[in-house]
Homo-oligomer: 429 residues x 2
């Protein structure tokens, strides 16, 4: 019967995912005893295996691309999905970068002695089992595997169904790296089915096996994960980023930063989507900055005050303030000082990355205090929102939640900690 076989398939998937959870938990426990040397050896072997398997990875990716074209996927999305030899080499080099960064596990971040002689150390430890749910870009499979392993975590990876073949081919290389270092294969697992029910099972926590869920993708994916997850979530929401030009801004810096923040690469999460201009000096600042943006090929959509200063600017609707364009379009609002800018950002932003351009240091610092985003920049482009630019080596993405980790999530952010208290027989009076 139709419903019978669906139930059977559901039960089978559920059993399969439960097995993955148990295997991941056992692998995480094994990783607690593996040392940094073994993890580094595995990462180097992974990079070598990705290079050695390049043709197999490209062949699998070609099948994904062909299938995506057949469904009529947009060219920009196809470009995100497609690999070539350069991209495979970049993937291997990325894993090597992670192999070279300092191992965060076991690092003492604090240590002090109490008057009774107890020696208290705060020590970084792996989180345990991390499930990552992501879309497009097959290189995330290699990046996420490498960062989770560097931090001593077992990973369950669930990429987009449109790049399943690519992800499985990359995972085969990852598995070779683990084997070369004598680590359990279940340290890094990829969900082998395109069945979307697998996502629901992961969000259910796989019978308590999942310690952290990281969604990396569009607004609807992250919202679903945050609503349904039965395990802690580290959300990577879109970057609804603002550049605020304070009345004290230097015009040359304002032009350079606004154009770079919007136009350097419009498709990255660190790109600016809204330009805010201080009403106290908008006449001086907005027209030339708008001209520079237009010269760079950017469309401007403004509120009434912005349009009164820049002829021919189209009208911004309420929806524009909450739209991550990922395109050469920017919304523009004139706001009343730092408070006005901070209020706009609090109302419409995603707490990702926001910048102020100001020569008055007190104004800049006040903006940095008032704006509650993961990254606040003073006189610099929002496009610096990137783990590599922060010196973290690599990143899973930019966390936009408020707890545990914010901003670029590298290996260190994929650890937690415990207290190790060393005594000589102390009892509490």
């Amino acid at each position: 019967m139709g419903s019978g076989s669906m139930d059977d398939a559901g039960a089978s998937l559920s059993a399969q995912m439960g097995d993955m959870g148990r295997a991941a938990k056992a692998a995480a426990q094994a990783l607690r005893l593996a040392d940094a040397v073994a993890r580094t050896r595995a990462l180097r072997a992974m990079a070598a295996a990705i290079r050695a398997d390049a043709q197999a990875i490209l062949a699998a990716n070609a099948r994904d691309v062909e299938a995506a074209r057949a469904t009529g996927m947009a060219p920009a999305m196809i470009d995100r999905l497609a690999l070539d030899e350069t991209r495979v080499e970049a993937m291997a080099a990325g894993v090597e970068t992670v192999a070279a960064i300092p191992d965060p596990v076991g690092v003492e971040t604090e240590r002090w002695t109490r008057p009774n002689g107890l020696d208290i150390a705060r020590v970084r430890t792996p989180i345990g089992v991390i499930a990552i749910i992501y879309e497009s870009r097959p290189n995330v499979t290699a990046d996420a595997a490498a960062l989770c392993l560097r931090a001593g975590n077992a990973a369950i990876l669930r990429g987009g169904s449109e790049c399943l073949a690519s992800n499985l081919a990359i995972h085969a290389a990852v598995a070779k790296g683990l084997a070369a270092a004598g680590l359990p294969e279940a340290c890094i697992q990829v969900v082998k089915t395109a069945d979307r029910a697998a996502v629901g099972l992961i969000l259910g926590g796989l019978e308590g096996a999942v310690d952290l869920i990281i969604p990396r993708g569009g607004k609807s994916l992250v919202a679903r994960v945050q609503a349904e997850a039965r395990a802690p979530v580290l959300g990577h929401l879109e970057g609804l980023n603002h550049v605020f030009l304070h009345a004290s801004a230097d015009l040359a810096k304002a032009k350079a930063i606004a154009v770079n923040a919007k136009m350097r690469r419009v498709s990255v999460c660190g790109a600016a989507e809204t330009l805010l201009v201080d009403s106290a000096d908008a006449q001086r600042l907005l027209p030339p900055v708008a001209e520079a943006l237009r010269d760079a090929g950017c469309e401007l959509r403004g509120d009434a005050r912005a349009r009164s200063l820049v002829p021919g600017m189209s009208k911004a609707t309420e929806e524009d303030w909450t739209t991550e364009y990922l395109a050469p379009i920017i919304s523009v609002a004139v706001v009343d000082g730092i408070e006005g800018a901070a209020a706009h950002i609090a109302r419409y932003g995603s707490a990702h990355t926001d910048a102020v351009v100001a020569e008055d240091p007190a104004a800049a610092e006040r903006f940095a205090a008032l704006v509650d985003s993961a990254i606040v920049l003073i006189n610099a482009s929002t496009q610096f929102a990137d783990g590599g630019e922060f010196g973290f080596g690599a990143e899973i993405g930019i966390a936009t939640d408020r707890l545990h980790a914010r901003g670029p999530v590298g290996a260190e952010q994929l650890t937690t900690f415990k207290y190790v208290v060393r005594g000589t027989g102390q009892t509490r009076p």
Copy 2:
């Protein structure tokens, strides 16, 4: 109509709680601009107001105690609820302790400069709005209010319905302290109704106003919060704590630590509930330690191997391994080495606090590496699991979740962070 008025009441409570959420969010924003001096002034004024209001607080508490007696509440629970002049003074002194600890907000925990001149600082910031759901002990109202304010957070406090009058009287003193420092009253709000539907509304996140929910109480409360919460949770679960006697243990230390961990105070979350003894030397260790525990008035319940070594020990059931007795009872199991101890702890423990007694340092360190609890002690009593004993000044409780904060939660653990990046006009190439 009955159902009509219930719906009306539900709608009214929902509106009232929504107002609380909005007021808390506005207060949290005001707190971002208040400096440490104002917060310290408010905390000192709170302590003074608690002392000045002592008679009103005691009168309200007497009403709670009377009502609790009328419902037949157990004497041990009445004792947790009841205040006297000493306890009110301790509450005021506790708030003064928090006023004296270093203010965590704005502290730079890391700062570095990139090759391009960008100056990146990681700065502690308030979390925002914290909702704390707790049971019994009215002093938590003062402690939680003080710690949240020290860390620059707005708080929504929901104590047990059995101490509502006490909590409201304490809150009146807290409000006087806020007013004395010119801070908004909504920085610290107490839910004014005993209606349990209020908890459900808080778990729903109050329309996105709540940034963190902290449940502090029994297993069923914490489980409900973790299942239903639509905002991040920092769980404070029971302490199912173990003391493991390794084959290398010094017998005198083993006796002293086991007796202290179990019997110093049996009702605290840091009390030990299970004694694990290494099979490699159980004959030497278990009988005298069991005798010392019995001499201290403790009942022992053992597995087969433990009972074979200690005549007259009653049989431990599967349920005993997962029971937080909070009473002079301890379960006892003989396990095979560190791996056996770690496996028992991973299966039955609550990742709170576990101790090893061992003279062999390599064995002790291996235990510390394998056991994934918030606090792992070597040759010291589990009863040191306490914010004061760690030097944190005060604590909300001991966090047993894996993310954001583990172990004692003081003011520092009630902060998050952001990156402030200072440039001189940098754009990304």
